[in-house]
Amino acid sequence: MKDLSLNELNQGLKNKDFSSVELTQYYLNQIKDLNTEINAFITIDEEKSIQQAQQADQLISQNHISELTGIPIAQKDIFCASSWKTTCGSKMLDNFYAPYDSMVVDLFNKCGAINLGKTNMDEFAMGSSNETSYFGAVKNPWNIDFVPGGSSGGSAAAVASGMAPAATATDTGGSIRQPASLCNLTGLKPTYGLVSRFGMIAFASSLDQAGPMAKTAEDCALMLNVMADFDERDSTSIKRDKENYTQSLNASLQGKTIGIPKEFFNDELNDDVKIILEKVMQAYQSLGVNIKEISLPNSQLSIPVYYVIAPAEASSNLSRYDGVKFGYRASNYKDLEEMYLKTREEGFGDEVKRRILVGTYVLSAGYYDAYYLKAQKIRRLIADDFTKAFTECDLILAPSSPSTAFKIGDKTEDPVAMYMQDMYTISTNLAGLPAISAPAGFINKMPIGFQLIGNYFEEAKILNFTHQYQSISDWHKYSPGGVL
């Protein structure tokens, strides 16, 4: 069952080659074998997963089978799942059991998919290496001395190591695409508003977006078919007709145009990464795609803008963790204020505290205009750059990450160096655009991806381009311990 695509798993279940219980048990065994080393999962509950698989087998036996029925999916531990512990990678929620399903989990449950377990992540999705998790760093399956990227590092490592066929993830500044790049996976961050945020624990509300992490564009399309749905419980969810994202995977790219932003392909870009991306361009040219230089003049402002807006929203979103209603509460305190202080001092890790401090500062009286308001204005300029660019091209090609994975501990002392990991991904979150990262090759035996950015709601086009690339390349077929 190893290395089968979601479509192949679906065929196998349909043909009764294996049952959902067998399939689920296979992955649970994989987790037993590998998770101690990789640390990709925070919570496993064999009983619950197998129970779901039994129900799925019943559905399948009655021929009620849709594309993901009976298939185990790992859920990032940012999605609340009824009766599952949901920690968001934090000590603050180490005792938190949500009495409700997030929309994403609910949609997978409804189509008969199996919740395989909750994956590790940077605390409250704040981090690019999965080292800020209260539950310990996740190891990159390609080399366990290296980080898998973050914040969806657990989901990435789980899929890359063969502990799950696919996983859910979230992306606020690159948290799907950067780990996908570092773990040789395909990960899609959809248009803001396409996937409901209900029940997904908030980091930065105007940037957070859930998406799939899998081996291929086709698998991502199957996942997105389930995940993309209007939800009246999320006021930023967008009401539109459902799309079938697998439908146009095989459309021809003849005569299409890919834009190359000159601001990304400059002297700062790592030479090895540049060579790999040029090969991707050549591959697209061989598919009949035109390559055209474009400009995103304000993109270099993305990191500073992001590190004003995201912490500002986070500082407010995380105020609810005060020890009063749920989650961690300090055990010794003499009054209310001390309860607040100790609860938050003990319950949050350093990176979360750092961002709460930054966010509180930029929203303070006297600083709001200079930071938050100005950042919002630049955010608009960044979005306008993309709108203009898309008059000239279908999609934009960009690096996903500035380099391959770095060693665990390498950047933990230098937050700004860590923040630079997302320099190529953040602008799309600020603009609310969809983007994918897909495998592009290897540097020193470590994988790296390329990024394709599309206009609003052009997930189908992004998946089509990526699938076409994957039909003439085989980087996505490599797995750790394989031929390399």
Partner: protein
């Protein structure tokens, strides 16, 4: 030195919606603690606010009723502060762009009309409640109220006495109930005022430093608090002290206002637009629809009563002090009753009785049709006004009684028959030649005494108006 008093008021009006402003939880009052605390009220991770349209419509309704501008585009913001009864750690409110701007309310204080400008009104959610003293050494949190929709209505500093402030607050209290956006229940906290008070030397252009009296939920306390605060501020300044801008609380037991500890108010709320909610856009079409449903406002009704029905201002004000009273009055007049007699009866008799028993018009025991019949019998001169009062009291005691039966059994029917009254008048003239003489020499008092005599021998049943008329005729002729 003499002083000008400057007062502005912020009122929190709880909107009567079935569900909370950002969730589907009920807003019902008086339930066991946390019965209405849904996951959104509890700020569970991943839950999100969804705006209640009904709350917006009620805010617009208010805006139209005070002739304000309705913002086509307004924004919800987060007001950040930590408090156990504020589950999210922020309150969703409107800050820079409120839904209602620049309206006004006309008040009447001791016969003088004055326009009070309303700067803005914005939508926000209420907080929960901290409950002390029910658990040893611990504070309980009741989140039933958390998320209840409020409309905060802010005036310009246009009031210059406690009396004007009360007149405004009462007028507003009446209006929000009249247009059906608030139940007006002050005990339950549905209508609470924060009053900003400052003083300045008479005629000075420069405003003094203000202090804000928080959370007044009775008109009586409001008046006491303002009067105390004004004297306190004047005394401070006259003693050479500066007023420090602060928030104060009124203690009804001592009758004093006292500043809160500075720590309790030293908050930087870090307002910013709530990214979970889209900006609120209101179309002209929505506004027009709501305008059509607004109905007559108290101001128009007052005009109708004084101009069309020729009621005096005092009676008219009492009738429009409450929509139900006005509607009751309207239905009575519509059934053919005389506007003035009806007004007198409502204001003079019905209200006196209701007030004595601390009842509202809804709780009046007398059936409307009996009340109408009673006034009809007075109008058609079947009974005198005094007899009417007697019947009214009896109906109050026993609502099953019937007006006409009471008139019969008590023999209250007044004699309006000229042939019956004339002999009585003749008799009295004959028996009281001195009084007749006095009347003729210009003493009006004698006339009243003669009427009294006639009434007496008729045992009170003669129609006094008719007696008076016939007597005058007789005396001036002879």
């Amino acid at each position: 030195m003499t002083w000008d008093i400057v007062i502005g008021i912020e009122t929190h009006v709880q909107l009567t919606t079935k569900t909370k402003i950002f969730s589907g939880a009920s807003t019902e009052f008086g339930l066991p603690a946390n019965e209405n605390a849904c996951l959104v009220s509890l700020a569970y991770p991943g839950t999100l606010p969804v705006l209640n349209k009904e709350a917006v419509m009620k805010a617009i309704k208010f805006g139209l009723a005070v002739d304000a501008q309705i913002a086509e585009y307004s924004v919800f913001a987060r007001k950040n502060y930590f408090y156990p009864d504020l589950p999210k750690g922020y309150q969703i409110s409107q800050f820079e762009l409120p839904v209602v701007n620049h309206g006004h309310l006309e008040i009447n204080n001791e016969g003088v009309n004055k326009k009070i400008r309303i700067l803005r009104a914005h939508l926000e959610e209420d907080a929960g409640k901290s409950v002390h003293g029910i658990m040893d050494n611990k504070t309980g949190i009741d989140l039933n109220r958390a998320g209840t929709p409020l409309l905060e209505i802010v005036t310009e500093p246009d009031m210059s006495s406690a009396k004007e402030a009360i007149a405004y607050a009462k007028k507003l209290h009446n209006l929000v109930q009249w247009i059906g956006i608030c139940d007006g229940n002050m005990q339950e906290g549905s209508f609470r005022c924060d009053v900003n008070v400052s003083v300045k030397p008479r005629g000075s252009d420069k405003l003094g430093t203000r202090r804000e009296i928080k959370n007044l939920n009775s008109f009586r306390y409001m008046e006491q608090a303002i009067n105390y605060e004004v004297s306190w501020q004047i005394e401070q300044i006259e003693d050479g002290h500066d007023i420090i801008q602060s928030t104060v609380l009124f203690n009804p037991d001592s009758g004093e206002t006292k500043a809160m500890r500075s720590k309790e108010e030293a908050n930087d709320y870090r307002y910013f637009p709530d990214p979970d909610l889209l900006p609120l856009k209101i179309s002209q079409k929505d506004i027009d629809l709501i305008r059509d449903s607004l109905g007559e406002l108290p101001e128009e009704c007052l005009k109708k009563l004084t101009v069309d029905f020729k009621l005096n201002e005092a009676d008219a004000s009492i009738i429009v002090s409450d929509k139900k009273t006005y509607e009751f009055y309207q239905s009575l007049v519509a059934s053919g009753l005389d506007a003035k007699i009806t007004a007198n009866w409502i204001v003079g008799n019905l209200f006196a009785k209701l007030n004595d028993h601390e009842l509202s018009i809804d709780d009046c025991p007398i059936a409307q049709e009996q009340f109408i019949l009673l006034i009809k019998r007075i109008m058609d001169q079947t009974i005198s006004n005094n007899a009417g009062k007697k019947i009214f009291d009896l109906l109050w005691e026993d609502p099953d009684k019937n007006v006409d039966t009471l008139i019969d059994t008590l023999g209250l029917k007044q004699v309006s028959d000229v042939s019956a009254i004339l002999p009585m008048i003749d008799e009295i003239i004959q028996n009281n030649p001195e009084m007749v003489e006095q009347f003729k020499s210009g003493k009006d008092k004698a006339f009243n005494a003669l009427v009294g005599q006639v009434m007496k021998i008729s045992k009170g049943k003669a129609n006094p108006g008719q007696v008076s008329e016939l007597l005058k005729e007789k005396l001036t002729k002879s």
